[in-house]
Subunit: 323 residues, 2 copies
């Protein structure tokens, strides 16, 4: 079963998570002005779902010290779905206060990983998520603005600490999230373990049991990012996270785990006749901002280096995307 | 319709083309002893189909000046399918004389590209292929050894000079090759233009009209190598060319067009439960030979850098592959 979208000018949603998942491991502080420039340029290229920051305490990750300022600017851009990561209830409160459109809460299905990462069992994380839903509902009544809550199942396809993760555990956590009030679910191949058969099977299973939109969040650690996006699409998934230039660590850097290259994934879909709403040429030029600010990062991705094929015709109507 | 294999211990054939397609654009001469070492190490890892050289005149590509010596050594290795590229009838004669198991003849379906590349129309190339078949048949009668002839359709998914290539042209060339006596056909995405939908459609069409084995030959120029291999597999293709470390130019080097990374592709299949006959860990160590001889080449591929997932279990029975 494939999922409905509430826009009629695209066939898939591609969300940029580079400003959060990409930058969170980058030691160099990406200047606030450059973050704004990145968001603005990518929105102009047609990427209108952007995770712009994390509410992880700046003490832990200084990269996000400017979260409020970045959100403020992103909100001014109008037709943008401004998303942020919330590590906990406190982060949710800050995010709602800041006026984001969507908050992203991530729990690792692997108990070992979740305990190591946030010192909670997955069940305890689900309990916290319930508190977040209550907080959101209360604030929605007070302010009239209802923030969308996305609940992510990390290590859904395997874990570096536990190895295989049983699909029934993923289904269980996803179901609990939905029953607790999640508006959307995401499945993350956090460490790049997944293969396309596994992706197809688990995505189909999840789409069968949950009745909310499901996003797939892929890492390219072992070169499977794009193929797993295709497999997810075949299984009916219509929402994809990605990261310009595969930021967040490139497989060419030892041990790093980059996100799937957004522009290559978008190129695949556009070639297939699947509308992303993105102007691929414009999108590739946004990489210049990353190159300028992070000259020592090795950017990933084939499309930007090779350019579009001769006479390539996008499925997306570019005049509309360019507006 | 998926294709039958004549080995019962694998589900797909993966052929190493790095010593030919990978090295042909490398200016540094890869020492003959190192070529032998590469072939031997990769065969020990279970890759037993290897294109070991090209019969392009050494004046044009000095890298292949040692073709005869490399073939002689590869033949000694026993259970190896020794393949070589032949650019023309003269190359075919040399290859048959040298005693290879398989000769690979490539024609570009794009007339403009074929004219530029070998100064012939595709129709003229098919005529030459007929002469090659006659030569092969004559020599088979004389010697009792029948060399297998693989006919490749290059630019089957698009061309940098012509743009789109009509699938009917590909079908026409493939059909002519088979009618002329080709034992096998290959479809090549020479310049990395293909997307998985296109791959599925054309592979299915070709498998419907030809009754010989079909190989897919992919380049990773725009990051589509692995996904296109998956799409081809879904369409029924069971033979795949690849190149260790994506040699032949990395998308990270401007304008270069690397082959699909063999070890990442094999990892995908093994994860899916599809037996390649390859020991992935052993295979990754073979990269050391390339690193040693070509220290300035940037090697591609995620698996070798990240390693196998925790508790990863290969579909291939490794004790057998290790023999």
């Amino acid at each position: 079963m494939s999922q409905e979208l509430n826009r009629d000018d695209v066939d898939v949603y591609i969300r940029e998570v580079g400003l959060r998942d990409g930058l969170q491991n980058v030691k160099t502080f990406f200047p606030t002005e450059a973050k704004k420039e990145w968001i603005s340029a990518e929105a102009a290229a047609g990427v209108i779902d952007i995770e712009v920051c994390s509410f992880v305490p700046p003490k832990l990750i200084p990269q996000f010290a400017d979260a409020l300022e970045v959100i403020e600017e992103a909100k001014k851009m109008g037709n943008l779905n401004v998303c942020a990561l919330m590590p906990n209830l406190k982060g949710a409160e800050r995010g709602i206060e800041a006026g984001v459109d969507q908050l992203n809460y991530v729990t690792s299905v692997s108990e070992t990983h979740n305990l190591q990462n946030v010192r909670r069992t997955p069940a305890q994380s689900v309990e916290e998520f319930k508190a977040i839903v209550e907080c959101r509902d209360r604030r929605a009544e007070e302010t009239g603005k209802r923030v969308t809550l996305l609940a992510g199942c990390a290590t859904a396809f395997g874990c570096t600490l536990e190895g295989d993760i049983d699909s029934s555990s993923v289904v269980s956590v996803a179901r609990q999230f939905v029953e607790s009030g999640a508006d959307e679910i995401s499945l993350a191949d956090t460490v790049g373990y997944a293969n396309p058969s596994q992706i197809k099977a688990l995505c189909a299973e999840i789409l069968d049991v949950v009745d909310v939109p499901v996003t797939i969040h892929l890492h390219d650690t072992r070169g499977m990012g794009v193929v797993n996006a295709f497999a997810a699409y075949e299984a009916g998934i219509r929402r994809f996270d990605g990261c310009l230039a595969g930021l967040g660590g490139c497989p060419w850097a030892p041990g790093a785990t980059g996100n799937v290259v957004l522009e290559d994934m978008a190129f695949m879909f556009e070639g297939m006749g699947v509308r992303t709403g993105i102007d691929l040429k414009k999108l590739c030029t946004v990489r210049d901002i990353i190159t300028r600010e992070l000259p020592d990062e090795q950017l990933c991705g084939g499309l930007a280096k090779a350019g579009l094929p001769l006479n390539f015709s996008q499925a997306t109507r570019l005049s509309a995307a360019a507006e």
